[in-house]
Amino acid sequence: MEVTLSVRRYNPDDKERPSWWQDYTVDVERTASVLDALIKVREEVDGSLSLRCSCRSAICGSCAMRVNGHAHLACNTKIIEASQDGSKIRVEPMGNAAVVKDLVVDMKMFWDKVRQVSPWLQPAGPEPAGEYTAPNEAMLHLAGVMSCIMCGACVSDCTSLEVDKNFIAPAALAKAYRFVADPRDAQTVERLRMLNEYSGIWDCTRCYECVQACPKGVAPMDRIMAMRDKAMEAGFTKTYGARHTDAFVDSIEHSGWLDELRLPIKTVGMFNLPKLMGFGPVGLRALMRGKMPPIFHTPVPNVKNVRRLFKKVRATQGREQK
């Protein structure tokens, strides 16, 4: 079966072109995956194409990339699914990450976020002589999150991270849940306190992208929601989250788009100077890359339509509440 891959390429050594699309046509088996096709390209057509892969069976987490616009593991994405009508398959590096070369992205930010949640078991007191006793159901439940292979697909497609690089993002939050829900861990409240801060569990916009992208059924968004409940139960009610969500909604309703400059200010509060100073570096970096949000946040044309949408939603919500 013939298939054409349209690959987004980039090589920092190539000063002439910043990045480019390159088409490769190869012959593969009907059961082949996108990864099989890419490997064939690499081995038989173009040795300069770089990508990460190893296990070919969706367990090493190396081969996440965007296929036709969404993050997938190349090794468990079948050619016949990606190209039902025989059209070209678009292959790009993951989003929300800097590209190193071709399909290889820099995972540093990903791992920094994982590190942020202190991802190791912290039991109380001295260790027992034997194993910790724990109900099998709890362990089976944890197995659902433990099956995360840290591929980054969810982070690639996270819409909240796209607008706020501080967001801890789905993979690390799912990892945090793995400890929050572990009966052996004694730091649950501390963990929740930290996750309750700005850039934690309340910054998820519930867009569902991570659930869709995850190849292992980890469903990070559901874990985030579970942690919100646990945080509320633990008594964390005055949250950045609540304020952040409000600020988000306000901005969109007011102007039709996100006011990135005011969002953090509204979230942490005008007078929370230490926290606000913390945003300095982010702002500076944004400025240097020409990405500083405009100081004067002007509404989009036809913002009226946006406001009408809000009204409608409120009306239906009102009905549901009754």
């Binding site: 040795g47 990460r52 987490g61 197995a143």
Partner: protein
């Protein structure tokens, strides 16, 4: 300058366990790995890890005996005793670190049955035990703050005044060459599965460390002992865990017959791997296969068991074979899976090269002998990973830094890379040679072997060496150049192939995984001994060592 008391090469289970252990002892330790730690091949282990827990009425002596028998009496019994007696504590340690492990009704660790053992003593996390352990060990690495040179490719071991004194390495993201000085190096680079085509192993498993140790003068031992796993998918070689048979799945031939009753009437599907693989191959050779395969049937296990305990196989069946395992049997065949042979070490990981340790699949402490039992490899990685880490850390305490000429060393490494990159000789790339070599290994060094086949293979390997000497790298850049990495890996694979065939020709008997049609029986009088291969300019040099026997006298192996 980059320098560490203990430098661990490899971030699989063996490597990370070694690093955690060396850190505990206060050493300045770092890990270097060509992939991010959690991408390591240890991920692949589905089935579980063995340990005899005494509070469960099991005894480590029983585990040791099963291991000795499984090894076809080639395993060193002193090492096996250490591994099995330390297994319980090590397992509990992994649980304390955070591995979830499936539980029984009382919330204690639960077990499943595995091949070649009379008791169910395999502890597991659904069917991703390796992944669960690997990620937890990585959590420990984050906790300890041990430095990881992540996506750095080790090019060579540095030898200085007869000792191993560090490595030269390539930072893959930038293509820059570095020297890392170390008082001791622990090689934990994994197996050499991809030398065989097909194989259950991940693409990165290319024998780099075995070849580097071999080049540095270390002895490789029992390299002919290459394990074929009984249940791998046709074509891709993707593995179906032994856990499936542990849970009760049947093996059927084309007549729907449970053929294992003819080969291992007592243990049936759960006989040891070499036995089951040979039985399957015999069925296939004698015309009772289907398209070069036999069938693995899980249907009678019922949806609940399959869903709870064999989830990954459901996915693998669907994604890689187009089979719904609840409804149809899966066509499988024996496929290359593991190498029992490796860098010869003692029970503390010391190799024949001072300053160089080894642990995990690249090493051969000789706990697996002629045939590894399922779920004994994970145990091997953590027990001997820990022991090497402790020993290496202790030894470095009062050791001086080796005096290396860093610039010279880096310059030489850079030059040879440059040479390779600028070469255009044959235009032939690594991929063609690697593929041909792999097919040859499968053909002449498969479940069954003989003198003529292995001699043909030896000649072919010489030919691959010549081709490799003229190999061309297509990608001339420096940033994340995977073309270059694959080319370097192929060089390592060819060296391993040379040692494997040398060992295979030398051992003139059938023992464990080494089944020769021209010497079909085990010959204790002449071959109850290890085969060592050392590199010389004239080619591999062979020697022997006696097998260590403590409690268990060799007897015939029946399952």
């Amino acid at each position: 300058m980059l320098e560490h008391d203990v430098l661990v090469v490899g971030a699989g289970l063996a490597g990370m366990r070694a690093a955690v252990a060396a850190h505990e002892k206060g050493a300045n330790v770092a890990i270097i790995s060509k992939v991010h730690p959690v991408r390591s091949h240890s991920n692949a282990a589905q089935g579980g890890i063995n340990a005899a827990l005494t509070d469960r009425g099991d005894s480590w002596e029983d585990h040791a005996f099963d291991t000795v028998k499984g090894s076809d009496y080639l395993g060193d019994q002193d090492a096996i005793e250490i591994m099995c007696s330390e297994a319980g504590a090590e397992l509990i340690r992994m649980e304390h670190m955070g591995v979830i492990f499936n539980r029984d009704d009382e919330g204690k660790l639960g077990t499943r049955a595995f091949g070649g053992q009379r008791k169910a003593r395999t502890f597991f996390v659904a069917d991703f035990t390796g992944q669960a352990m690997l990620h937890v060990l990585y959590e420990q690495i984050l906790k300890t703050g041990v430095r990881v040179y992540e996506e750095w490719f080790v090019l060579d071991l540095i030898m200085h005044e007869g000792r191993c004194a560090g490595v030269t390495a390539l930072e893959i993201a930038t293509g820059r060459v570095f020297v890392i000085r170390a008082k001791t190096v622990i090689m934990c680079s994994g197996g050499v599965g991809r030398l065989f085509e097909p194989s259950t192993n991940a693409l990165i498993v290319t024998g780099d460390g075995m070849a580097q140790a071999y080049r540095a003068g270390a002895s490789l031992m029992d390299m002919e002992m290459v394990q074929y796993h009984p249940t791998t998918l046709k074509g891709s070689g993707v593995l179906i865990t032994e856990g499936a048979r542990g849970e009760g799945a049947y093996l059927l031939n084309s007549q729907g017959e449970r053929f294992m009753k003819r080969y291992a009437p007592n243990m049936m599907e759960l006989a040891s791997r070499d036995v089951v693989s040979r039985s399957e191959q015999t069925e296939i050779n004698e015309g009772r296969g289907i398209d070069g395969c036999v069938l693995l049937d899980c249907r009678h296990l019922g949806e609940k068991v399959i869903r709870e305990r064999l989830t990954q196989i459901v996915d693998i069946g669907r994604d890689f074979a187009g089979v719904d395992i609840m409804k149809e049997p899966i066509p499988i065949r024996p496929g290359m899976h593991y190498i029992m042979g490796g860098i010869k070490t003692d029970v503390d990981g010391l190799t024949s090269v001072p300053g160089l340790y080894a642990a995990g699949e690249c090493a051969n402490v000789s706990v697996h002998g002629g045939n590894r039992l399922g779920a004994n490899s994970l145990l091997d990685t953590v027990v001997f990973g820990r022991r090497s880490g402790h020993h290496a850390a202790d030894v470095t305490k009062d050791m001086d830094w080796p005096k290396l000429n860093i610039e010279d060393l880096a310059g030489q490494a850079e030059d040879s890379l440059q040479k390779l990159l600028s070469r255009n000789d044959s235009g032939e790339r690594w991929s063609k040679i690697r593929h041909d070599l792999g097919v040859d290994m499968d053909k002449y060094f498969g479940v069954y072997r003989d003198e003529r086949g292995m001699q043909t293979l030896q000649r072919n390997i010489q030919n691959y060496k010549d081709r490799y000497a003229r190999v061309a790298v297509q990608d001339k850049g420096r940033v994340f150049n995977t073309d270059l990495i694959f080319t370097l890996e192929l060089g390592f694979m060819i060296d391993c192939a040379e040692a494997i065939v040398a060992g295979g020709l030398e051992r003139k008997e059938s023992r464990g995984a080494h089944s020769r049609t021209d010497h079909p029986t085990r010959d204790d009088a002449n071959w109850l001994k290890h085969v060592l291969v050392t590199r010389t300019p004239k080619g591999p040099k062979l020697s022997h060592l006696p097998v260590v026997i403590t409690k268990w006298k060799p007897e015939e192996r029946k399952y």
